[in-house]
Symmetry: D4
Subunit: 173 residues, 8 copies
């Protein structure tokens, strides 16, 4: 993988099967024009690569990690163990238990090693990107403006949803 | 409440009964010398005050929100609805359901409005502070150094725990 | 949205994707000839609009709120925070966790701000309407009569279900 | 039991062991000066008495039912089966399963027979009373005023909680 | 419904949608030549009919009840409230919560009113019939013989399953 | 253990720590004067003894089994595997998981081997005895009478509970 | 079934419907060239055959058991009750409850009778075989080498997954 | 820590607070005279030490790992990621969620990296030791004999429990 120059957000996923969730993250980061890179690395299958990546992240200029995994989802926690950068975890619903295993494995971190966990699945994919952007926006007026614009656009979408529903209501009047 | 000058982290709790959890947060922020303030505000009992606080936070120089609540824990989400600052949620175990209600109410936010959620209870209290500090440390070499020091001290504590256990093992040898 | 004249029940849904559930509500209210209106509003994406709507409801002549949402379902609670009108919450199963998140986020309200919550999904959609009608029927003999008639018709439907089963039983005799 | 003259709210509990929860309900109704009565009746041990009570409620001038029970909590549903009055259910945590059994048994009612369910335990006890009062307040300007006053007093209590916390914060400054 | 002469087992289901589960029950009872009848009755929609049926069962010569329902599954408990005959409950998975609501609503009966609950779904459908037959077999040597034969046939089915698997194993040798 | 002459109900518990639950069973059986015996046997520690006991039960004149166990509660199922007598299972809450493990391990039996499961804990202890008595009462008019009397006495206890509550209500009037 | 000469691993499944899970186990054992055999046996339908198989396993040269079952999954525990060989349990998701019943029934064994339980479903199928091989590898340098090779190949697969994702990322650049 | 000469079992716990559980493990290993050592190491606080320990275990003559941890319990999985030795995981109940988080985080490992997980808490502590001994016993006739003796002693303990219960039964006769 060729690392994108000046990546500020590093996304790590445990398996390429996590793509449908992480595609949301990628799309939002791209929409906000935030430089990022994305690696497939496994806390259990390639633990040393995870340790290396996380251990060297700070000096490479990276600012935020996003990690997505399912089952006994240790990826975000493994990264957090090796870095002082903020780590955002996305639990992925990947098996019988509806993602409850992923959610609890990601969020219930012991005192001292935080993982900021977002919602299960695609909402979490989108929100991990937004949370990363909110973090970067603290020192970027440009990103702040874009976030305000994004928030306003969401309000417009709610209005569109309302219009859609009003039309469905017609036959009940 | 008199706001601490130049507060960078705003802590909000839904009830004064959340103090045992949030005391951990307060202690860590103080240890790292991060200026913060703390308010008791309720998403349901004082919704307008929450909206005001969150809506005006960015221009007051605040950088990160931390919110702790239990039950149908809407506080972090309510704040996130009114700001583009990063919001860290701490679910508090406050009733019959072992905090499962608090955890799911805090983390399962819809697409567009992220809340970075940490573990239930006191571990979450400590980790919310650390995550906030990690976020601030992105642009503060001083905080970064302190975080690295903190991480090293944790290793020492693990060693101390190990010594304690070795002494307990004596009678089994 | 043009508000239906003299609406007594205001339905609010968090997203147009909640329509399959709320269609049940709409159908029952229409069958009972209860004036209602329906808005798409989000506790997180359009919090001010929710606050406005709920805050002004009482003086506009509205009598009951029905709110449906999924995930960290704060919509009913947000409305309840801003009104003294009764609020009926419908948890919507909208993701990995089978609606357990929606159910707990809606029902586990703190002391002081009640949300009368009904069952998950379509049964809840129907029952929210019926509960609203039961509330209105306290001062409407006409609605009371219709409710008694509805209850009797349900008994007839059970009898029809019984006939259906008796015919299926034939081959086992 | 001597029925209170003109009772508008009938509270039914499955066992006298539910008193700690229902005492909250009783206190709120008394504070609002709403006439009520309270009976211990069991959906399983005295089903006919439940059926009689619920079946005759409407003509006796009653307006709202509140029912609290634990375990396979059928009390609220049994009442709802026999009346068209609104029924508010309070799930009581009464055994090993943290009240999850009570909660699901109360809320997951089939289409046609609604039970407006409030939170588990004491919060639910308070909120059931408030929800009943909100329902009665639709046609009582006096109760509406009291509810607005109650809502304002809650805001004051939040402020008091805030003061308490500010004093605890002193030693961290 | 014309009651089968001399029915010893009365099956009651809350809705005709429970047929796929109860068909298993019906099939087993027929295979064992046990006289039964089956009614669709709802604890909530036709509570009086349930009370009548259960209250008069003993003197009509009935010996065992089987009741299947989903959601806030009160049917078996409602029958048990009105009879001293043994009641077997089958929880039916009928909605979002995977039948957990049905299971807990059926089994967590209060002290004094037992419901012997079997597994969720089709296994429960089969086993409810077998449990009823085991109960009747206490005083019927003929049914006892049939049960022993059934148990032996199950062993043969396991052997058949084993043969099937051995053939699948061929390609791994 | 000296087996009680003519025991009709055999109680088996996995450990003497299950006594607080099974004492309820013992008390009820004694109250109804039903001959029983009780053994401590473990599905995992003494599997052969369980198989022997269950395998020889029918010819020894036994009529019903009651089995109580916690955790991966296989005792009732192991007995059911070796007998055609009806088996009643009591899940015992014996560890971290609030008895959810015991409940699911006891009830979710595969097709062909029923276990009639009652509620967790002491209610289940009482109800297992009552269910066994209901089964025996099918061919015992004497036990039927006692069950009817027991049911009536329960109604009296509910009335006593009501009196207790009415006295507590005094200070709210 | 003809037992494979010198089988070191005995796989037992409760039903031929468990094949999709156990095929993974079979494939891995074959890939590592570990002699095994596989039987369909049920803890509840053929308890004596399970007891015989487990009781005689040690002297037949067998070294490890693997057992897969669903629901009230007692198979692994029943085997463990009759042998001192290590038993690996695979919970199979076989019904409404997402395998939570299988998982808890398999893992929550009482003190004294361990079952080493692996993940639900196909991952568990693969991992049961690998855990058995790890156990055998303690005294087999050849198997140790193969395990190291397998671990390395997994790293390569993660790299391939990474390449796949990089290509998907192209359109986001 | 001075490593015990020739340790065959390495126990690792995430915190000295896990001692009450792991004391059971230690006691059993000592009773069987199996050489072991025990370290406090954290997957998150001392990840490199975990990697070192696990990575070098095989060549140091170690044969089996036992790891106990709570919350997002990654310790067993982290060890398994770095070794081909069998790893036994003990989930520790360490917070609000009754150990459900620990259990799922330990057991739901991805395909390729098994952790043989035992029961939550003290039963798991005992059973982890026994499972390790069963593994070592495959090539140790001496340990096999001891395991058979242990199994027999358990049967005696069950008999003692039975005697205890018989004496409690006296007053019911």
């Amino acid at each position: 993988m060729t690392k994108q120059l000046n990546a500020e957000v590093e996304i790590v996923i445990g398996s390429d099967s996590d793509w449908p969730v992480i595609e949301k993250t990628v799309q939002v980061l791209k929409d906000f024009n935030v430089p990022f890179c994305l690696k497939v690395l496994s806390a259990h299958r390639t633990p040393d690569a995870v340790a290396d990546l996380a251990g060297n992240a700070q000096e490479s200029g990276l600012k935020v990690f996003i990690a997505a995994a399912g089952g006994a989802a240790h990826l975000a926690g493994s990264i957090a163990a090796h870095t002082i950068l903020p780590v955002i975890g996305i639990p992925v619903d990947s098996g019988s238990l509806n993602g409850l295993d992923s959610l609890l494995s990601t969020i219930q971190m012991p005192s001292g090693i935080p993982v900021g966990t977002v919602a299960l699945g695609k909402s979490g994919g989108t929100n991990a990107a937004l949370l990363a952007i909110q973090i970067l926006a603290i020192s970027s007026p440009d990103l702040s403006k874009k976030l305000i614009k994004y928030k306003n656009e969401m309000k417009q979408k709610v209005k569109k949803g309302d219009s859609l529903i009003q039309s469905k209501l017609e036959k009940y009047k």
